[in-house]
Structures are given as structure tokens and as C-alpha cells.
């Protein structure tokens, strides 16, 4: 592992990302998040930032997330013991969304894995990164686990993202969704993946920390681009029906319950060989006890994380994320409900401030994905 001098426990003063000074200059409201001082919003506000990202392009600082390099001759085969995805079959330049499972078939974290040919490049959640690093170091003998704490990560998301980024690196235009490659951007070697967390087309761009501010300024200079904080990042991913670790995913929730069976390689469903395979195989065969669902409350009252779901007065589930969807123009939520009630169209009650409010199970996502498949 690399020197990890920039990372400390979260009870210390929050760490600054490589573009902290730029956040301050842009007038961001900074909040402590996963041990970092992060912009929750800029002066435009969550609603305007969200809408701008759906209409043009938003720039997000996601440098707090963990960027990890796995190297060694058998890194892909080794990683497959910790995740249920097909990693060995991942082509050069291909990226995959997967999950670190635990022995009980729950989820320790969700992550992206890119095959760079010589190594695997992982992006893991900020709040989980130290646990993930320890998990990999302990369970991947013979694999070098290198936390790249000296790198920045920016996300450029929205329908204008490709046009904006291609002005500086024309090759990005043709990259399909879920691929990655090394590229020069403003004279700096960067790692660009066509991916994101908004449901929109877009990119995540990794670069040496000392180049992050110059690249952020270059992108923000484009009239199509506005900075977007964590507030809108959450409403964008919620509309896109994407899981947030600590809400839709945790050590007790299985990938089957979470509706993430598509992330489990077909041949691995039968073969197993990853942590928690027994439970996951059982749930694949017998159906899980509960399922993640989309919830659309009637009226305008929001149902947030923790709200009880009832049917005929009986508790049948719980909301795990909820808020206002600016592009949907109304309240939206996700949660877990007993499998028998998970069908789209099921009428439910949400217990908001002691009062039952009607809602309905709906299909996810709330806002259609807009990915570039090439």
C-alpha cells in the first residue's frame, strides 16, 4: 500500500480535497462528509444544480472516493473471491459495477472495477475505503493493493458532457458507457471512464491531485458546465434509481434483495466461489424475503430514510432514501418491502410524522437513464 499520510480517522478535522480552495471561491456550502469537507451545494442551490445537470452538464468533485490499484498476476481471479462479478472476463478498457460481499451474503461496499490491462483500477465509497483497503489487503494474498490517495477525481455529467470534454480530448466522444482509458487532458495524463452516478451520460476523470484544480477550472470555463454539490448528487442518483451505500446497501442486505442480480455473472451464480455465495444462491433459487422498490408518494409530502411502510396497518417495510425529485417534480423514494408486496402498482401507506400517507410501488428508475452505448 502507498503512504497514506493524507487520510485520518473521520473524527479529526475534515480533510480537504485537491479543489477545496475552488469550492470556497465558488461560494460552496461545505459540510463534513466521510471525513472530508465537501460542497453540499453552491449558490445556485440543489434544485438548480440538479436541473442544470439534466439539461447541460454538471461538474462534481468526487475526490473523497477511494481510488485503488490492484496489481499482480492473479489479481482478477483473486478479486473474484470478494465480488460476485465476472472480473476475469473483463476486457481491456472495460469497466463493471460490483459489490464486496461478506460471508453472510450482505454488502460491504459497492464499487467500480476497470481493467487497465496491466492492473485493475477500483473506485470505492469514501466512507468505506479504509475498511475496503483492509479487506483487500487481508484477503488478496499476492496482490498489491495501492491506495492512490494522491489523486483527484472529478465527474462531468449530463447531456452536454461529451461535447464539452471532447473539445479538450476528442477521443472521449466515441467511448461507450462503462469503458475507461488513459488520455491527455490540458497536458495532464488522466484516467477517463464513461460512467457516473446521475443516470446521465458523462465521465469520471482521475488525475494527479495537483492538476485537479486546473482541470476543474478548464471544464467550468465552458458555459455548459456548472458546479454541482452533494445535495444534487443525491437527488440525481435517487431519480436514477441508483443505490447509496448505507441506505439501499449494507452488511445485512443481499444483492438479490437489492435488485442487483444483474451484477452477478451468470456462470458465477451457479459456481459460487465468492463470500456469501450460499445465501445469494439460495435467494436466487427461492426468492428473497424482501426487495428494493421504487416508491411514489401521493401529494407533496416527502418520505425520507427510516419512514415505515405499512399495508392495512401492518409494517411491511421501510424507506431507505427519499426526497424531492426535481426532474420528476415531486416526492420520490426507495425502500425495502416484503417480497409479497413488491409488485409495481401495490398501494402502501407511508408513516410520515405519525400520519399514514398513501403511496404506490413504482418501477425504477424515476427518470430514464441516458447512457451512451456507442
Amino acid at each position: 500500500m502507498s503512504d497514506d499520510t493524507s487520510d485520518h480517522k473521520s473524527d479529526d478535522a475534515p480533510l480537504k480535497t485537491p479543489i477545496y480552495d475552488l469550492h470556497v471561491e465558488l461560494g460552496a456550502k461545505l459540510v463534513p462528509f466521510a471525513g472530508h469537507a465537501m460542497p453540499v451545494q453552491y449558490p445556485a442551490g440543489v434544485m438548480a444544480e440538479h436541473r442544470h445537470c439534466r439539461a447541460a452538464a454538471g461538474l462534481f468533485d468526487v475526490s473523497h472516493m477511494g481510488q485503488v490499484r490492484l496489481s499482480g498476476p492473479d489479481a482478477a481471479a483473486a478479486l473474484e473471491r470478494l465480488v460476485p462479478a465476472d472480473i476475469q472476463g473483463l476486457g481491456h478498457g472495460q469497466m463493471r459495477y460490483t459489490l464486496f460481499t461478506n460471508a453472510e451474503g450482505g454488502v460491504l461496499d459497492d464499487l467500480m472495477v476497470l481493467n487497465r490491462g496491466d492492473d485493475l483500477f477500483l473506485v470505492v465509497n469514501a466512507a468505506c475505503k479504509h475498511q475496503d483497503l483492509a479487506h483487500m489487503t487481508a484477503n488478496l494474498p499476492g496482490v498489491t493493493v495501492d491506495h492512490q490517495a494522491d489523486r483527484g477525481l472529478l465527474a462531468l455529467q449530463g447531456p452536454a458532457a461529451a461535447e464539452v470534454l471532447a473539445k479538450h480530448a476528442p477521443d472521449v466522444a466515441a467511448m461507450p458507457f462503462m469503458t475507461g482509458r488513459a488520455l491527455m487532458l490540458a497536458g495532464v495524463p488522466c484516467l477517463v471512464t464513461r460512467s457516473g452516478y446521475t443516470g446521465e451520460d458523462g465521465y469520471e476523470i482521475g488525475m494527479p491531485a495537483d492538476a485537479a484544480e486546473a482541470i476543474a477550472r478548464l471544464l467550468l470555463a465552458d458555459p455548459a458546465v456548472a458546479p454541482v454539490g452533494l445535495g444534487a448528487r443525491d437527488s440525481l442518483r435517487l431519480e436514477a434509481g441508483l443505490c447509496l451505500y448505507g441506505h439501499e446497501l449494507d452488511p445485512t442486505i443481499s444483492p438479490v434483495e437489492a435488485g442487483l442480480v444483474w451484477t452477478i455473472a451468470k456462470h458465477r451464480r451457479a459456481a459460487g466461489g465468492f463470500l456469501g455465495a450460499e445465501r445469494i444462491q439460495r435467494e436466487l433459487a427461492e426468492k428473497p424475503a424482501r426487495r428494493r422498490v421504487g416508491v411514489r408518494p401521493e401529494g407533496r409530502a416527502l418520505a425520507r430514510d427510516g419512514v415505515e411502510i405499512r399495508i392495512d396497518g401492518a409494517v411491511v417495510g421501510q424507506i431507505t432514501s427519499g426526497g424531492y425529485g426535481p426532474s420528476v417534480d415531486g416526492p420520490i423514494a426507495m425502500g425495502y418491502i416484503e417480497a409479497a408486496h413488491a409488485k409495481v402498482g401495490t398501494r402502501i401507506d407511508l408513516m410520515v410524522r405519525g400520519q399514514a400517507r398513501p403511496a404506490e410501488i413504482v418501477k425504477l428508475p424515476f427518470h430514464p437513464h441516458n447512457y451512451f452505448r456507442g
Binding site: 453540499v40 451545494q41 442551490g45 440543489v46 434544485m47 445535495g231 437527488s235 407533496r300 409530502a301 416527502l302 425520507r304 426526497g323 424531492y324 426535481p326 416526492p331 410524522r353
Partner: protein, 123 residues
């Protein structure tokens, strides 16, 4: 004569005779961010000072609005149901929440005037 007062919970109270029109301050709406839902009390409800009286939800969080004074709720601003963003665009005017007929006018002495409130927000 109308008299404008403020609470430490960032509500404003405009008193005309024995009727108090109440809302949240411009400072409060700025802190809340984009308001997306307002839950108002029932007309006719008798409230005591500091009772939870309404809820204002922004994209960030739900916040209680307390009764700044005791009395009877005689009117609520129904237009907020359809357009909660009025709280952001005109917190001190069209974004008002409810009107209370005062039962204890002496309570008004405990509220801040505008100059005191501006100082309070700077603290």
C-alpha cells in the same frame, strides 16, 4: 398599526390588532434551501406558544415551524400547497404560513424587533 416581530426560531410575526400573520424569515429560507413542501395547521386549532405548528421541507431536510405566540389558527396560506417555492421567493410576503388570533398579547414582549433580529442572526 402593524408591528413586525421575530422569534429565535427564525419566524416572523406581523401583528395587526389581535391578528398575527406568521412565516419564516428570509434568513431561514436561505438556510433551508429550496422549499418543496409545507404542511400547515388546521384552521381552528388552538396553539400554545412554541407548539409545533407547521412543517417546512426543503430538498435538504424537514424542519418544524413553531407557533410564535398562543392563540387560534384562523387562516392558513393554501397557495403554499401548490407552490411551496413562494417561501424562497417571498418569505416575508406571499410565503406566509398562517394567521393566529392572539390569546395572550403580553407574549409579544418576548419577541425581537427587526433590528434585534438582524443582530441575532449575526451571532
Amino acid at each position: 398599526m402593524a408591528d413586525l416581530k421575530f422569534t429565535e426560531e427564525h419566524e416572523w410575526v406581523l401583528i395587526e390588532d389581535d391578528i398575527a400573520t406568521c412565516g419564516v424569515s428570509d434568513y431561514a429560507q436561505e438556510q433551508l434551501g429550496d422549499v418543496v413542501f409545507v404542511e400547515l395547521p388546521e384552521v381552528g386549532r388552538i396553539v400554545n406558544k412554541d407548539d409545533e405548528c407547521a412543517v417546512v421541507e426543503s430538498v435538504k431536510a424537514a424542519s418544524d415551524v413553531f407557533a410564535p405566540i398562543s392563540g387560534e389558527v384562523i387562516e392558513v396560506n393554501d397557495t403554499l400547497e401548490g407552490d411551496p417555492s413562494l417561501v424562497n421567493s417571498d418569505a416575508g410576503g406571499d410565503g406566509w404560513f398562517f394567521k393566529i388570533r392572539l390569546s395572550d398579547p403580553d407574549e409579544l414582549d418576548g419577541l425581537m424587533d427587526e433590528a434585534e433580529y438582524i443582530e441575532f442572526c449575526k451571532r
